[in-house]
Amino acid sequence: MGALKGSISFTKFHVRGELPEGFRDTFIERMRVRAFRPLSPLEEAPQGIGWCAIENLLDLEIDHGKVYFETYLNVGLRIDTWQIPASLFKAHFAEAEREHLAKKGREKLGRQEKEELKVVVTRKLRQQLMPVSKLIDLSWNLDTGAVRFWSQSARLHELLDEIFEDTFKLTLLPESPYTTAARLGLSELESNVFAELKPTAFHVAVF
C-alpha cells in the first residue's frame, strides 16, 4: 500500500515556508545526505532512518527521475530497527552469564559486567538477525504544499518531523480542525473566535 498503488491511508501535513530557489537540485543533494544507511550489528544504534526510492526500500540511490513526478516529490522513508525477541535474548544472556562465571570461577556478575555482557550478547545476536524494515511513502505536492505521509502513527510522525526539517529546512504543520480552518481562510478575527470555541453539548434536551 502506498502512493503509487494499493490502499490509501495517510496523514496530511502542510509545509510551512517558501521553497528555496533551485530547490529541485538542492533537495536531491540533501536527500542524498540523509539517504538510508544500512544498520551495522557492530554499532550501538537500535534504529536507522533515511530516505530511499518510493516503494523500493532497497533502492538507496536518490535521483531526479525517481523523486520528481511533475509537481510532486515522491520518496520513501525507510526505518530499520533491531528487534531481538526478549525470550531469545534472555536465553542467550543466561548462557553467556553461565560461561562467564564458570571461566572466572565466581557466582555472581557485577552491575558493570552485566551491562558489558548485554552489549556482547546483543552484538552477537544482531549478527545472526536481520533488522525489521519499514517503508513509508511520502508524496509532496510542491504546488500546494500538501504532504501525504502513508502512516497514521504518532511516533512515526515525530520521526518524520525531525528528518523532514533536517533535510528540507522546512517545517510540517499537521492537518487538524484549527490548521485546516486557517488554511481555508480564517481571518485574524475569526482565528481569535476559533481560539475561544468551547465544546457544544448536543445531548442537552433544550430546543
Partner: protein, 211 residues
Amino acid sequence: MNLADLIEKKRFVGREFLVWLWFESEILEGRLSTRGGKSCELFLESKITLVQEKEKSQLDGAIPASSSEAHEALRQGKMPTKAKLRVTRGEFDYSFMYAADTMSLSGVKIPAVVRDETDEQFYERMYLLEELETQFDALYAEFAALRISALWDAEIVPMMRAWVHGKDVDLAAYRRVRGRAAPLGGGKSTNEEPKAAKVEVETSAGEALVA
C-alpha cells in the same frame, strides 16, 4: 494560545464537524451543498465510533449512524471520533474512514483507476484524491463558517439538539439560517487580541461572530 495549543485543544471541533455532517446527511437525505456549487452526496455507512471520556460505542452494520443505538449514544453525550463515509460527486464515488480528531482519511476507495503505467496511475490517484479533499475542504469551510458564527449557538445548535432527540427539524428554517452565515474569511480583519469576555463583531454579511 500558541499554535500547538490551538492544534491540540481544538480537536473537539473535528468531532463536531462529524456530527454536523451526520445531521445534514440525515435531514437533507444525503444531498449536501456548499458555496461555489461544490455539491455532493454524503452518507455515513457501515462503521461509526462514538466516545465520551473512557466510554466507547463502536457500531457496525449496514447504516449504523441511522440506528437507534447511534442516536442514543449521542443523547448520552458521546461524540463520534471515526466514521465510514461515502461521498459521491458527479460520477466519482468514494468511501473512506474519517478520523475526526486528526481529520485524516484511511482506507480510501477511489473511483476505478484505468491507467496501467505507474506514473499515469499515480497522477490519476492523486487527481481523484485531491478532488475528494477539495470537496471535503468545501464542506469543512461551510461548517467552520457556521461554527464561529453567532448563528451556531442561537439557531443551529437548537435544531441539532432537536434532531439528536428525534424531533422534527424545520428544513426550510435550517436552510435559511445556513444561507445567512458569512463565508469563512468574511469577517473584518482586526488587530484585537482574543478576549475571554464576549466579543461581537459584525461581518461583511451582517452576521455576528461571537467568542
